[in-house]
């Protein structure tokens, strides 16, 4: 009988510390994908992770890289400072929808406009998780949260923000993609985009962001599998999953690999 | 020795540059100096002011409640500031724009037709220079060659062809300053 080999070794770029996320929370999946990409690209020793504020506030405990804890929304500004000091570092911020699309909207937009050469992993689960289920800028119309108890209405709270589409207007953005952490196929696709984003940074091509549609069973009031289906059936309709921009690919003269 | 020079005029008359020239010349003469623009909060709009302190002691306050000398380049400046001068102080006035000397009997007045002089020289940018020349002669703190030297130092190279006009304006102003001082004595 042939010797068995481990096909999915635990990522070197994760510390192994048990992640404090709710059952089924796709933060864990996102962390693993990012760590695998860091390993595959061999850049762990020059990577600086920017942890922000939200459920992933402890990201620096999970990623086995240098890390800086940023205040709410300011990850892209902190990343800018680091990158301007160490252009050869590999910097990524890990931000949720409250952090990035609400309080940190200015920082992300301007970082993209400046073509800052770092990567943003943007977790969009359409709700504020850590603060217990309040409405996010990406909360869908009709979605009930603890601060939209009758469901989000345009009259009260306006429209949900599509970050990729918004950033797609900026010339400084070099790679923009929206993926979903739901099915095996989509998770594989998400990893391809994350890798592409880091490759974009390594090529010095400019700003890269991968939006990952994620679940929050706790504050959506669903079990994990219902939440996965909710993304598939409802969320993707408003937030189409695709690569919006791949400047590296354009330069290589081909489409997305 | 402590000279507190206050200058006021219209935007574009070169008030601030003129003040910096005096400060620079003072520095080069080994004095302690300061130059400060717009200290009076009521100074707004098209007017500009600055205060230059020249002293052989500590400068202390860079502002002046009662200047020992003034260069007032517009009617508005005369109306607003002339009465602040210290008793026995010197007021240099641009008589091209100010037709009546202010009623400030305790001061020495130097009336300099700065705009006319500039027209005669054929260079509108020299208005502030004849006033500085008169001030230098009137106070005796520095010579016009000191002011010309600091102008040469502060003026970008590409404007150095204006130097002869400026030096001429300084001389004409100084001539007015000297004659008036002789008259006073």
């Amino acid at each position: 009988m042939a010797e068995l080999t481990l096909v999915n070794p635990y990522p070197d770029a994760l510390t192994g510390v048990e992640m404090r996320y709710c059952p089924g929370c796709t933060h864990g999946t996102a962390h693993r994908l990012v760590a695998e990409v860091i390993d595959e690209l061999g850049v762990k020793d020059r990577t600086v992770a920017i942890a922000t504020v939200g459920c992933s506030v402890y990201a620096y405990e999970y990623f086995d890289t240098d890390a800086v804890q940023a205040s709410h929304g300011r990850g892209p500004a902190v990343a800018t400072g680091i990158k301007r000091v160490h252009p050869d570092s590999v910097v990524f911020t890990y931000q949720g929808d409250g952090d990035l699309a609400s309080i940190g909207m200015a920082e992300v937009v301007h970082a993209a406009a400046r073509a800052e050469n770092f990567t943003i992993i943007f977790i969009n689960n359409a709700v504020f998780g850590m603060t217990q289920g309040q409405m996010a800028p990406t909360t869908l119309l009709g979605q009930k949260t603890t601060t939209s108890p009758r469901g989000r209405t345009v009259a009260e709270a306006g429209h949900p923000i599509r970050i990729c589409e918004l950033l797609d207007t900026l010339d400084g953005a070099a790679f923009l993609a929206r993926e979903a952490l739901t099915t095996p196929a989509r998770i594989r696709s998400a990893k391809r985009s994350i890798r592409r984003a880091f490759e974009t940074q390594l090529a010095g091509a400019g700003f890269s962001l991968v939006e990952l549609l994620s679940i929050c069973p706790q504050w959506w009031g669903m079990d994990v599998l219902e939440a996965i289906d909710h993304v598939e059936d409802t969320m993707i309709e408003y937030y189409p999953v695709r690569v919006f921009r791949d400047r590296l690919g354009e330069e290589e003269g081909g489409g997305d690999a | 020795m402590r000279e507190e020079l206050f200058m006021a005029g219209l935007g574009g008359q070169g008030v601030n540059l003129a003040g910096q020239l005096i400060a620079r010349a003072g520095m080069d003469l080994g004095l302690n100096v300061s130059w400060f623009p717009i200290y009076d909060p009521e100074v707004r709009g098209g007017s500009s002011t600055c205060t230059v302190i020249l002293t052989d002691e500590r400068v202390g306050s860079p502002t002046s409640d009662h200047p020992t000398s003034m260069i007032l380049m517009s009617a508005d400046a005369v109306g607003r500031f002339a009465d602040r001068a210290v008793e026995g102080g010197l007021i240099v006035i641009n008589s091209s724009l100010v037709h009546e000397a202010p009623a400030c009997h305790a001061c020495r007045m130097l009336m300099v037709p700065a705009n006319e002089i500039a027209v005669e020289i054929g260079n509108d940018r020299t208005v502030n220079m004849s006033l500085l020349g008169a001030w230098a002669a009137g106070t005796g703190i520095m010579g016009i060659e000191d002011i010309a030297a600091s102008l040469r130092a502060m003026l970008p190279e590409r404007h150095h062809h204006h130097m002869p006009d400026n030096e001429e304006a300084l001389r004409r102003g100084a001539a007015i300053g000297r004659s008036a001082c002789l008259g006073d004595d």
Binding site: V7, N8, P23, T183, L225 | -
Partner: protein, 67 residues
């Protein structure tokens, strides 16, 4: 024969691996973890092809696949 090793103590019973296993070889066990979850176990080792989809979808990063 491929092998799936589940770190039961880290399993949070989210059921994603159970749902997506193409061979339906996984199920909840009767055991209870220190956090009170019933961890997933492989009940049909014969069916497993070692495709690692279970590990791909596992947010707790607690499944190892040997092949």
């Amino acid at each position: 024969m491929p092998k799936v090793v589940i770190d039961a103590e880290r399993c949070k019973q989210c059921m994603l691996c159970v749902r997506y296993c193409p061979r339906a070889s996984l199920r909840l066990s009767d055991a209870t973890t220190s956090k009170g979850y019933h961890p997933v176990e492989q009940h049909d080792e014969e069916a497993c092809t070692g495709c690692a989809i279970c590990a791909l979808v596992c947010p707790s990063v607690c499944i190892e696949v040997y092949r």
